[in-house]
Amino acid sequence: MNAPVAAVDWPDKLYATLKRAGIRQVGYVPDAGHARLIDRVRADPDIHDVVLTTEEEGIALAAGAWLGGQRAVLLMQSSGVGNCVNMLSLARSCRFPLLMMITMRGEWEEFNPWQQPMGSIVEPVMKLSEAEVYRATRPEEVEGLAERAVQHVFGDERIAALILSQQLIGKKVWVK
């Protein structure tokens, strides 16, 4: 990875934000950009970590969690956004609070061209689906944007997508 080690503490800050927000369920499809956050969540006995077979499961999981009085978050990579489109109508029709944290591929020093077609439409798809979109490019802005997304979602039962840019995450190392 190209970012200096000291700068790569934003996943820990995201975890701290989730804890402050009282998040009790975390659905995720494993992703390298979220690896550290997923590790933190899996190590936390107060959080149900739910590994999903496809991202749309996480939309339904979050709805069920809210029906039962718990807050959830959905972690995914940009390619997963496309898998969610129809299921987002569940959150939109019922105004379920839905917080998504999306790690980007296909936008900055991407080696794999197959990531570009979905990566390039993540933001418009999210906006069309009535999500408030927050984009983090620098490590120092991640926590503040995450706090705003949390407030938007749980303060008013809305949808938000926190986009974690590929520049923030660093490029995938293909040949070690």
């Binding site: 496809t54 499961e57 069920g64 029906l67 009085g69």
Partner: protein
């Protein structure tokens, strides 16, 4: 094979229903079946979100471990969200039951054969293969009575999956409330959460 009638099957599963039972139907026929069995604030009717019923059940079951969560959906809806069975198999929620009313057809769209009706897709084998230890195949009235009894004691070893073989006949539509915000808020209020 004398398959079961769907409305009678739903009524049998919900007979003597208590307040600790929360029910999520799939969209379409099972939603109308649930409404026909009697409206209840602890039902969360789905008018869409095909493929999502079992996952809503999982999120709810994890959030409310002291209550019983019953998902009753159709074979088509379950097939669309089949990965949910794998996800449930990993989490093993002891208070969740997923019951599939299987008539081998897509009833809402004109009774086209589904994968369970047109081929050899067996949802009980899929559920078992996903690590769901309690799998029940209901073919007749005694089986249905047995499943209803199991649902009343839902707790312990892990999630329950049941296939109920139902007849293809369509029942008159009984349409519940369709405002999603109303359904969400009344459900939460019924279990003591603020809207």
């Amino acid at each position: 094979m004398s398959a079961l009638e769907r409305r009678a099957a739903m009524a049998a599963l919900l007979e003597g229903r208590k307040d600790d039972l929360l029910v999520i139907p799939g969209l379409g026929s099972t939603c109308w079946d649930l409404a026909a069995a009697g409206d209840n604030d602890r039902n969360f009717y789905l008018w869409g979100a095909m493929g999502g019923a079992a996952m809503i059940g999982l999120g709810l079951a994890l959030a409310q471990p002291d209550k019983r969560v019953l998902v009753v959906t159709g074979d088509g809806e379950m097939l669309m969200g089949m990965g949910a069975l794998a996800t449930i198999g990993v989490k093993q929620p002891a208070n969740l039951a997923v019951v599939v009313f299987d008539n081998g057809h897509y009833g809402e769209t004109g009774m086209q054969p589904s994968h369970t009706g047109a081929g050899r897709v067996d949802l009980t084998e899929i559920a078992a293969g996903c690590g769901i230890a309690s799998v029940v195949d209901v073919r007749d009235e005694p089986g249905l009575t047995g499943l209803a009894a199991r649902l009343k004691e839902l707790a312990g070893a892990g999630p329950l999956f049941a296939r109920v073989r139902i007849a293809t006949g369509e029942a008159p539509r009984v349409l519940p409330e369709r405002d999603g915000v109303v359904l969400k808020n009344r459900f939460r209020a019924a279990i003591g959460l603020k809207p």
